[in-house]
């Protein structure tokens, strides 16, 4: 049996009602599954729907279990395994605060430019950068900022969508 641990991005369309996020999160903690990241927001006000994108890890059987367990929650409309069901696009947004002066400050700004990060706030001793893209790119950016005076990081976690014309 395939015991290799793999990462899957799963999109879950849920009824936007009180407690629905607690149900999802409680399922993961109660059954010992991992959450690498989780994002949620309302996506259709009229139909009262929210969309959760979560990245989780486990072997094949665990990933299958996670999807089945999610799907049987009463307020869950649909569960899609984006990793399994074909190509998808994924992105994450991050805000990164870097404090420093002199060469370090100039270097931070130069790297930010390379990463197409935008400056959201600045003082004479700090920047708040905003950047988006693949998680790996953000990891890399944060890594580079560490020696340059990294103070604060805030990330949204992954949002993802299947390529092509079909909806969830």
């Amino acid at each position: 049996m395939d015991e290799q641990i793999r990462f899957h991005t799963i999109a879950v369309l849920v009824e936007n009602e009180p407690g629905v996020l607690a149900r999802v999160v409680g399922l993961f903690s109660g059954r010992g599954y991992n959450i690498e990241s989780l994002t949620v927001a309302e996506v259709d006000h009229k139909e009262n729907l929210s969309r959760i994108t979560l990245v989780t890890s486990g072997n094949v059987m665990v990933i299958e279990q996670i999807k089945a367990q999610l799907d049987r929650l009463v307020p869950v409309h649909s569960v899609k395994d984006l990793t399994l069901e074909g190509p998808h696009v994924a992105a994450e947004l991050a805000m990164v605060k870097v404090a420093g002066t002199g060469d370090k400050r100039v270097e931070a700004l130069r790297i930010a430019d390379i990463f197409e990060a935008t400056v959201q706030d600045t003082t004479l001793e700090s920047f708040v950068f905003r950047l988006h893209g693949q998680s790996a790119k953000i990891d890399q950016f944060i890594g580079l900022m560490k020696p340059l005076g990294l103070v604060d990081v805030c990330r949204t976690g992954v949002v993802a969508m299947a390529r092509g014309k079909e909806g969830i």
Partner: protein
């Protein structure tokens, strides 16, 4: 008040009536007083006043399991709701349809640590199939109907509806149940035709086939049990049942191998280990059934029919998964078997049965009888024989149990020829389940004989319900196998912990005969084997609740036994087997 307006409490009761509820089990308190007031002023719904809320949920479970209907509970906020938690978890684990209405403090006080406030939806979220907090009057009727829909559709389970007091007292309009189905919860009932064909073909080609069936067959309704019986007889294949599935196939059927699992029969477990095609119908490869997963039925192709997709491939990889209602799927399978004119491989099947008969000849349930000490197995054999006679003459007999050794012996020695006659706490293993469950069964079947097979430790966990039995004249029989120990704990301590009987002996047990009398019931006692028949006959004849205190062998253990961590073919058949199969270190950490 306009003509269509009614109070929240009236809406609740009207919804119960529309859902066909005729009895609820409950306990009043501040937050639910408006419902109790409305109850007082109507006759459609009967209320059974329990003595503790745990009893209410187990009673509703007993009611549900013996009727196939939804069991309904009404408790107050705070401690009322928290006392119900064990029962809710029990119903979740055993897939029992229960709707539990809990009172709640008024909406404007929620979150204020008000008197008798608890975060009921927060606490019960992981132990219910679904739960609701009704915060708007206009949601009340819809939520009530939805709760019943969810409790009984798909894999059944408990649903909590938390009802703040201001909602119960406010005015609103009633809505009838929607016919259009649920917005997001639509379980798959019909199985995939392709996989069903594949499964039937696999079964037809099997040389050493085995049906392994569980509570899902019972939950699917009596028709599913009939279909299973038809299919088993049509194929002539052997069939084993889980603790939850007893009664799905008549115990008298020669194809029935007995229960499977930790304390199942030798022939069932070895057949499970050696079979080449296993069809799992409404069971879930529970750890009590599979034993060591790495060595579980290593050479079989596995077919799994279950209404809950999350049950499939959870513990054991299966080859042909079929998501759907057991009854529907079995019906299609039988049609397919007939249409394709499949015939079992007669020669292979004969050889398989010959092998099984050799395993049967081991006689794994045999025990040493003693002249002056009652063996628990003997007491149950006599209970089975005498109640069987009674059921032939006077109608149905229902058994419930508590949890422990007596439960396993009851599963081994009582025989069930129909579904819904056996109520036991399988998944959660809740001591204290049997007496209130029996109460619920007796409420549903006033003229039936209802027996709770109990241990003296378990029975004390919900003994207060004896008082409920008296109030409603429910002639439940409590049949205690009294060994003065928490028997299963003692057995594990003997086998796994060097005989250090830490806290498993109960000093100062009550005198159960006097205890019965103080609860307006009749107490009986047997101390010698030759008293057992008289005791059982007397117990059955008395038209009142009875506690029969049967003093049994204190040292008896339940065999056969698959020790935790062991495989099916490493079963202990009796005390003499013990030394050869010491429990592994890996097994020690398992429960």
């Amino acid at each position: 008040m306009s003509r269509d307006q009614m109070t929240g409490s009236e809406i609740v009761l009207k919804a119960l009536a529309e859902q066909g509820v005729d009895v609820i089990f409950g306990y009043p308190g501040g937050a639910v007083l408006p419902i109790y007031d409305a109850l007082f002023q109507q006759n459609a719904v009967r209320h059974i006043l329990v003595r503790q809320e745990a009893g209410a949920v187990h009673a509703a479970e007993g009611y549900a399991r013996s009727t196939g209907k939804v069991g309904v509970v009404l408790v107050t906020s705070g401690p009322g709701a928290t006392n119900a938690v064990t029962g809710l978890t029990d119903a979740l684990m055993d897939s029992i349809p229960v709707v539990c209405l809990t009172g709640q403090v008024p909406t404007h006080l929620i979150g204020n640590d008000a008197f008798q406030e608890a975060d009921t939806t927060g606490i019960t979220r992981p132990c219910t199939k679904h739960n609701f907090l009704v915060k708007r009057m206009e949601d009340l009727a819809r939520v009530m109907h939805e709760a019943f829909y969810i409790a009984q559709n798909g894999r059944p389970g408990p649903v909590v509806v938390d009802l703040p007091k201001d909602i119960l007292q406010g005015l609103g309009e009633y809505q009838a149940a929607s016919k259009s189905g649920h917005k997001s919860y639509r379980p798959q009932v019909k199985g995939d035709a392709g996989n069903i064909s594949k499964a039937v073909e696999l079964l037809a080609k099997a040389k050493k086939p085995l049906f392994y069936c569980g509570g899902g067959v019972i939950n699917s309704g009596p028709a599913a049990s009939q279909l299973l019986t038809d299919f088993v007889r049509m194929t002539g294949y052997p069939c084993t049942l889980t603790l939850m599935g007893l009664g799905a196939l008549p115990a008298t059927d020669k194809r029935f191998l007995g229960m499977v699992g930790m304390h199942g029969t030798y022939e069932s477990n070895i057949a499970m280990h050696d079979c080449d095609v296993m069809v799992c119908v409404g069971a879930r490869f529970d750890d009590r059934v599979t034993g060591n997963l790495a060595h579980f039925s290593p050479n079989s192709k596995k077919i799994h029919i279950d209404i809950d997709p999350s049950s499939i491939n959870k513990n054991v990889r299966v080859d042909v998964p079929i998501v759907g209602d057991v009854g529907h799927v079995l019906e299609v399978m039988i049609k397919e078997w007939k249409a394709k004119q499949y015939k079992p491989d007669g020669k292979a099947l004969d050889a398989w049965w010959k092998q099984i008969d050799e395993w049967r000849a081991v006689d794994c349930l045999k025990y040493d009888s003693k002249k002056d000490v009652i063996k628990p197995q003997y007491a149950l054999e006599r209970l089975q024989a005498i109640t069987k006679k009674r059921s032939e003459e006077k109608g149905d007999v229902y058994f419930t149990t508590e949890v422990g050794q007596h439960q396993m012996w009851a599963a081994q020695f009582l025989h069930f020829n129909k579904p819904n006659r056996w109520m036991t706490s399988g998944g959660l293993g809740t001591m204290g389940y049997g007496l209130p469950a029996a109460m619920g069964v007796q409420v549903a079947h006033p003229d039936a004989l209802v027996v709770d097979v109990a241990g003296e430790a378990s029975i004390l966990m919900n003994i207060q319900e004896m008082s409920t039995l008296a109030q409603y004249r429910l002639p439940v029989k409590v049949f205690i196998l009294n060994n003065e120990y928490m028997g299963m704990v003692r057995q594990w301590q003997e086998l796994l912990h060097g005989g250090r009987y830490s806290e498993s002996y109960m000093e100062s047990l009550p005198d159960f005969v006097k205890l019965a009398e103080s609860f307006h019931a009749v107490g009986l006692r047997a101390e010698k084997p030759d008293q057992v028949d008289d005791l059982i006959n007397e117990m059955i004849e008395i038209d009142k609740p009875v506690i029969a205190d049967v003093m049994v062998d204190k040292a008896e253990n339940v065999f056969p036994m698959i020790p935790s961590g062991a495989a099916h073919n490493e079963m202990l058949l009796g005390p003499e087997d013990r030394a050869e199969h010491a429990v592994s270190e890996d097994g020690m950490v398992l429960v």
